[in-house]
Every structure is written in structure tokens, then in C-alpha cells.
Amino acid sequence: MYKVSSKLNLFAFVLMGLGIIATVWGFMSAPGSEDDVKEMLANEAAHHGDDHGAAADTHQVAGHGDAHHGGDHATDGDHHGGDHIEHLYHQLSNRPWAALYVACFFFFMIGLGVLAFYAVQRAAQAGWSPGLFRVMEGISSYILPGGIIMFIILLVSGLHMNHIFVWMNEGIADPGHENYDALVAGKQGFLNVPFWLFRAGAFLVGWNLYRWNVRKFSLKQDESPEGNVWHKKAFKHSAAFLVFFIVTESIMSWDWIMSFDPHWFSTLFGWYVFASMFVSGITVIALVTIYLKGKGELEWINDSHIHDLAKFMFGVSIFWTYLWFSQFMLIWYSNIPEEVTYFVTRIEDYNLLFFGMVAINFLFPLLVLMNSDFKRINWFVITAGFFILVGHYLDIYVMIMPATVGESWFIGLTELGPVMFFAGLFLFWVFRSISQAPLLPKGDPFIGESKNFHY
């Protein structure tokens, strides 16, 4: 039985501790009122003199051009400065919340992606992978704590303790109100806080229920492998889960991510987010497997298994790019204002990140993992995996930040704090779950094939 090294646990707790400190600092340093923002701008101008005055100017220009929250800002020219300050204040106070949200979702989606991958292996009755089942079960266990925190953040947003979701603004569906937005009002039948929270809760319960059951079946199969009763049960549950998952995952991606831009929609958004979570999940399976092998565990896993995981990392990265491009090209080509604003904001305010993350997520795996021999070399897989994870964090970042903090984005302690916290929690929880059961699912009917797997 695998025992988590105390070094790893210590590392996880240090990450969590530092993460909490940085996150709290991020919340404290967010401006408390519009006056704080005024003071901050004045300080900046005084400190840096001319250089920064120019930067502040560009801020102002960008603030007007923000097509996102409608053209209202630009029209009332009277409160030029006041509007800008208010706008900046909203963005800066959203920043710690949005940073928390991105990091929380990113690690949650890794767990969910691994769960989907595991269900695929079960439903396909794959012969190569049962040797890795305990690793996948361990990683997917993160959807319990990750899901609970995710739900708390959604609940807090729904209770108006932050304003990262524009569509929750007061009076948005009330024709007399200054916040009235006809497009969002038309979507209120679906996009209203109680139903939105209900959906989130139902999906999280459904996913966790499957994970709970299938883990139980997997352990039971080891105890009593006769007749493969538990194996068949796991097969049926996995097949049913995949149907449930692809529908709920799609709706989840509209609810939790696409609704940050409530005017905009993309019909393949669910697939796009799915590709992101799938490739991140598979990458983490590969990284954890390599780590455990380095500790002398998983002696039945050979480089053919790593090769297969690397093939999946390569293939799903290409699949992700295909979806990214399909979404981008159609909208770029047709150039319809209400659709194209999504990409205009990203190209203008997030240029480097937006195109940089495509390069990291596409070119990097393409070139590093194309060669068949490289897919069996651990450090190639680790390097590619590291960049894939960074790239997909940035992918989620670029999905969420433009609608919440707009052009006031930055990647600093405010952003790294939550990442460190959730990374620590992820490591701690995942390795704890992995250490709770024997790493070899000895009762699985395909375990012999998996042990002898050779490419």
C-alpha cells in the first residue's frame, strides 16, 4: 500500500498556507470604495510622473471602447472621469474574486476531466488502463472538496456578495431600471439565480454520486471478483454517467463560464471547455503516474502506458485547438458585432495571453510530443505536461477575466494565491485518496492484459 511521504504533505500544506495568505492579501488590497481608486490613481501619477500618466490615458480610452457592458458608458460624456473611476473600481474589486474563481474552477475541472476519462475507460472496457484505475480514482476524488468550494463561490456570487456575474445586477430585467438589459431579461427564464444554483447543485451531486459508486464497485470487485458482478455494475454506471456528463458538462460550461458574457453565445462552448478539462485531466494522470513510478510504486506500469497517455495528451491538445479555431474562425469570418466583441476584447486587451495560450496549448504539444519515441521519455512528458497545465490555466483565465476585470488584468499575487491554495489542496486530497486503497486493482478482469500491455 502506498504511503504519502511527509515531504509531499508538508509541501501541500505550505502551498495552502502561502496561498491563503496571498489570497487574503489580494482581497485586502482591492479598493474598498471609489475614493480609494481616485487616491490610487493620484498616487500612481505622482510616483511615476509622465510615464504613467500615459498609461492612465490608455486606461481611459480602453474604458470607453469597452463594448462589453454596452455603449452606455461612452454616450454620457458628462461624467467622463467619474464613470471611468466607477468602472475601474468595479474591475479592481472583481479581481480577487475572479482570480479565486479561475483557480477553483481550473483544479475542479482537472478532477472532473479525470472522472470522464475514467468513465470512458470503464465504458470502453479498455484493456491497457486498469493498472491506472486507482490513480484515476484518486485524482477524481478531488471533485468532492473542489465541488463544495466551487458551489460555495457560486452561492456567494448568487447572494450578491460580489459582482463578477453581470447578469445578476439588480434591476437587469426591470424595464424601468437604469440597469435594464433587454437581452439578459429575455434569458431570465433560464438564467436566474435560484435555477442557476439548483442546476449547479444537481450536477455536482450527480457527478459525485457516480464517483462514489464506481469507486465502491471498484474496491468490491477486488474483494469478490467471481462472476465480475461489480465490474459489470461499474460498466453500466459508467455508460450512463457519460450520457449524463456530456449534457450536464455542457450546461455547466454555459452557467459557470459563458454567462460571464451574457450577451454572447457559442454553440460549441461546452465541447471547448470539455476539451480543456479532458486534456488537463489526462496530463495530471500522466504526471501523477510518473511521480508514483519514481517512488517505486506501480511496478506493472511500463513505458507503453506512459506512451499511451502521451498520445492522449497530444491528440486531445489537437482536438482542443480544432475547437478553439472552429469557434474563432466562424466568428471572425462573419464579423457580426454582437458575436465578435468577445474576440475583440480578447485581442485588444489580452493579446499576448490570448495568442500565447494557443501557442502553448497547440504548438508546444504538437512539436514536443509528435515523435513517437519522445512520448516514452518521462521528462519530455513532464515538460509537455507542465506547459499544457499552464496553458489551460491561461485558457480559463482568458475565458473569465475579460468580462470581470476587463483591461485591468494582471497576473500577480492576487492570481497566484488562489492557484497555490487549490494546488496544495489538490495535492493533499488526491494523494490521500490514492493512499487509501491498494494501487493494483487485482480483481479487475482486464488487469492481466494491462500488466502485459505492450505497444
Binding site: 479555431f325 474563432f328 474562425m329 471572425w332 462573419s334 464579423n335 509528435m370 513517437s372 505492450h454
Partner: protein, 177 residues
């Protein structure tokens, strides 16, 4: 000195695979193995060097990508400038998203077709070519291993091959042809 080979027949791919390994351990020279279907791991067991087809495929893909880029730059930008998606910038790089599907398709097209042609040439296969396999049963349900026995004790090799599971063994004297 006469050129002699033995044709050993097998009826099962697993038996064949283990026979190939044993023959190589004994340091007999296997000239060729004929099988009715691709046998997984056979090249490795026979000690054949890895295929370089993959490197070719990569190079062919780059050729395809280049052809697509040059072709569309000439057609859509230089020779008859087109207004693409209401954005008449007449620049290849600015209109690139519109060209990506064709760039992708031609990359795949070139890689796939040239790879097949290379494979045929390398395997010396062309239309109206006469089949090379020495026994028609290798296209049905038999596996054939050609072992060079020039200067070796034919009796001993035959006995050894029978032990590896061969169902039929013929001695072929190439000079007789």
C-alpha cells in the same frame, strides 16, 4: 556452392512469433517472413530497423503546407485580390484564419498520398507486378518463414524448425530454378 533456403510453414501467429525469436537466438538467418495479415511485433522480433516513413510523412506535410500557402497567396492575394469576409486588407497574414482549413487539408492530403506512394515504391509494388510470395497459402491461412541454410547442416535445421512448431518444411535449392 549452392544457395539453399528452407521454407517453414506455421499456422498460428503466436507460434510463428516465438519461432522467429528462437531461430534468431540460434543465429540462423531469416530472409523473409510471409504472413496473410500484419503480425503485431513481428518486425521487432525479426530485428528489422524502425521505419522511416514517419519522418517522410512529416516532411511531406511541410511540403503540403508550403504548397497551400504559396498557392492561396497567389490566387487570393496577388493574382486577383479578394475581399475576404468584408475585410479587404489584401494581406495573407491578416486573412489567415480563412485559409487555415485549406492549409490543414493540403498538409494532410500531401502527407497521406505521398506516404502511400512512398510505401508502394519502397515495397516494390506497382500495377501488374507479379506476386513475390513463394506459396499461395500465405495469402490464406499459413505463415511462411524463409531460413537461409547455405553451408549449414540441413538435417539439424529441419529438426530444430520442427521443434519450434512448423507444420511443413521444404528445402528449396535456388540453383535449380
Amino acid at each position: 556452392m549452392s544457395d539453399k533456403t528452407i521454407h517453414a510453414f506455421y499456422t498460428d501467429d503466436d507460434v510463428l512469433l516465438s519461432a522467429v525469436k528462437q531461430v534468431r537466438e540460434k543465429h540462423y538467418h531469416i530472409e523473409e517472413v510471409f504472413t496473410p495479415f500484419p503480425v503485431h511485433g513481428l518486425e521487432k522480433a525479426m530485428g528489422i530497423a524502425d521505419t522511416r516513413l514517419a519522418i517522410n510523412a512529416f516532411l511531406y506535410g511541410i511540403v503540403g503546407l508550403t504548397v497551400a500557402t504559396v498557392m492561396m497567396n497567389y490566387i487570393m492575394i496577388e493574382d486577383w485580390p479578394q475581399n475576404i469576409g468584408g475585410k479587404p486588407s489584401f494581406s495573407y497574414i491578416e486573412n489567415m484564419p480563412a485559409f487555415v482549413p485549406i492549409m490543414f487539408e493540403l498538409t494532410v492530403f500531401f502527407a497521406a498520398h505521398l506516404m502511400v506512394i512512398t510505401f508502394y515504391l519502397r515495397s516494390r509494388l506497382w500495377p501488374f507486378k507479379k506476386a513475390e510470395n513463394p506459396d499461395v497459402r500465405t495469402t490464406d491461412d499459413h505463415f511462411l518463414m524463409e531460413v537461409d541454410v547455405t553451408g549449414k547442416d540441413v538435417e539439424e535445421v529441419t529438426k530444430f524448425l520442427q521443434d519450434t512448431g512448423a507444420v511443413e518444411i521444404n528445402l528449396i535449392d535456388k540453383d535449380a530454378h
